[in-house]
């Protein structure tokens, strides 16, 4: 289980998280929604330790996220970044197998390559993509490679940062289905941040509405349409009028 308790984070005078509290039960898929600049990515980065929160606590399976062996902690995570964040200088298979070629999980290059090709196949890419450079791939293919990299070491927890942003609706649907399948198949705990309501309905077990640095509403995805929460209602129906100011 991932538990954020009263987490605060400011960048200079810009207070991004204002006491964010959230629980993500093990083996479930939590989707965090909210407008741009409300702190969704910051929350994920705080859990991973990429950003240090100013106050509050973050527990992963009851242990503080910032204590213990950092490599062992990070080895439990996989992350799909918004833009893919593939390493330009490495061919696709080395991107996917990056974790398997270094550190505690290091394997022989041949074995790492085989695993990479298997993961690429899992996300619907042919083996001949393996030797290409990321710049030679389309946005959708890069996203899939990023997904393959996120699952390559079979992590317990996977984060997806805007997995369908910039993709056409069909490719977005493919990525949504892949995420759902992979999470169910691996039994992983997933946290996704997105604006895409189609993604929310396809991926989520639970959702959390983040606005102004705090969780306004959280609950099962099935209750989302009848939550009675004005922030969530406005967001999921995309209305300009409501408590969320359209001009921010």
């Amino acid at each position: 289980m991932i538990k954020l308790d009263n987490v605060n984070k400011a960048f200079g005078s810009n207070q991004v998280l204002r006491g964010m509290t959230l629980e993500v039960p093990k083996g479930t898929s939590m989707v965090i929604i909210g407008g741009s600049g409300t702190g969704k990515s910051v929350a994920l980065k705080c859990i991973l330790g990429l950003i240090k929160p100013d106050s509050g606590s973050i527990l992963v399976d009851g242990k503080p996220a910032d204590s213990g062996d950092r490599d062992a902690f990070l080895a439990r995570f996989g992350m799909l970044f918004q833009g893919g964040a593939l390493f330009d200088s490495l061919p696709v298979w080395q991107n996917v197998a990056f974790r398997l070629m270094r550190g505690a999980l290091k394997r022989p290059a041949e074995e790492a390559r085989e695993i990479a090709i298997e993961k690429l196949r899992r996300v619907g890419l042919k083996p001949d993509v393996a030797d290409r450079l990321p710049a030679e791939l389309s946005g959708g293919m890069q996203k899939r490679v990023g997904l393959a990299r996120a699952i390559a070491a079979e992590p317990e927890i996977i984060f997806f940062d805007e997995p369908t942003t910039g993709l056409d609706p069909i490719m977005a649907g493919v990525i949504n289905d892949l995420i759902r399948e992979i999470v169910v198949e691996m039994g992983a705990t997933a946290m996704t941040i997105t604006h895409d309501m189609t993604s929310v309905r396809a991926i989520a077990d639970n959702i959390a509405m983040l606005h102004d640095g705090v969780i306004k509403w959280t609950g099962p995805v099935g209750q989302m349409d009848h939550s009675g929460d004005p922030y969530l209602d406005q967001f999921i129906h995309g209305r300009a009028e409501g408590p969320i100011e359209a001009v921010r």
Binding site: K45, L48, G49, L50, R70, D71, L74, A75, F77, G78, M79, F81, Q82, G83, A85, L86, F87, D88, S89, F98, R99, R102, G103, A104, R149
Partner: protein, 260 residues
Amino acid sequence: MNPIALLARVGRLALDWLSAIGRVALFALSTLTHMLRPPFYGRETLTALLHIGWLSLPVVGLTAIFTGGALALQIYAGGARFNAEAVVPQIVAIGMVRELGPVLVGLMIAARVTSSIAAEIATMKVTEQIDALVTLSTNPMQYLVAPRVLAAFVTVPLLVGIGDIIGIAGGYAVAVHNLDFNAAAYLKNTVDFLEPLDIISSLVKGAAFGTLAALMGCYYGMQSGRGAQGVGRATKGSVEAAAVLILAANFLLTGAFFSV
């Protein structure tokens, strides 16, 4: 302006400078510790050796040969004013080895390598590749910074040595073919006049300048702001800082080696 406000502004400026120096010093210290402790990334180091050393050879060679040639012409023309044309081989040798070789190679490395390192790392930062490295249990200081600084520390002295030789050869070619110097006498004068300390100082300067150049590229890349503007600023700042530090270090090292 109110004198107190002026004092406050000067104070703030001084504090900003001091904190910047502190940040760079801490970064350098962190780089050193990451260079000395495992894991060592052999492939990344070899790639950096290739990019910084081997691929810089053409630009270093061209810079050195033209500088050596121009130096020979200048010394000949200048020396003619007081009948000292014969000192061309000695001054070309000492000028190239002690000063122009290391400084010009250092500045060319700042232009070519520092900018490239800063732009590459800054782009990686902007596109979240640095964050991705961390989530993949890889320390960016160890994976990106240490190999580049180590490679520059090792290869730039070699480039300086090669630049010195090519520069002297450029002076030799001009002196022998344009200024009617005797080839054998020119070489003998060059070899006889150079002392081991000249060569040692040249190589030490090369190591220092290479380290500074790579360090500035990595530092500005890692500190880059967002977007294309952030990458541009990081690249520009890195080259400016590397060039100024190289010239300042040259002054200090020259003083340390040759002050009387």
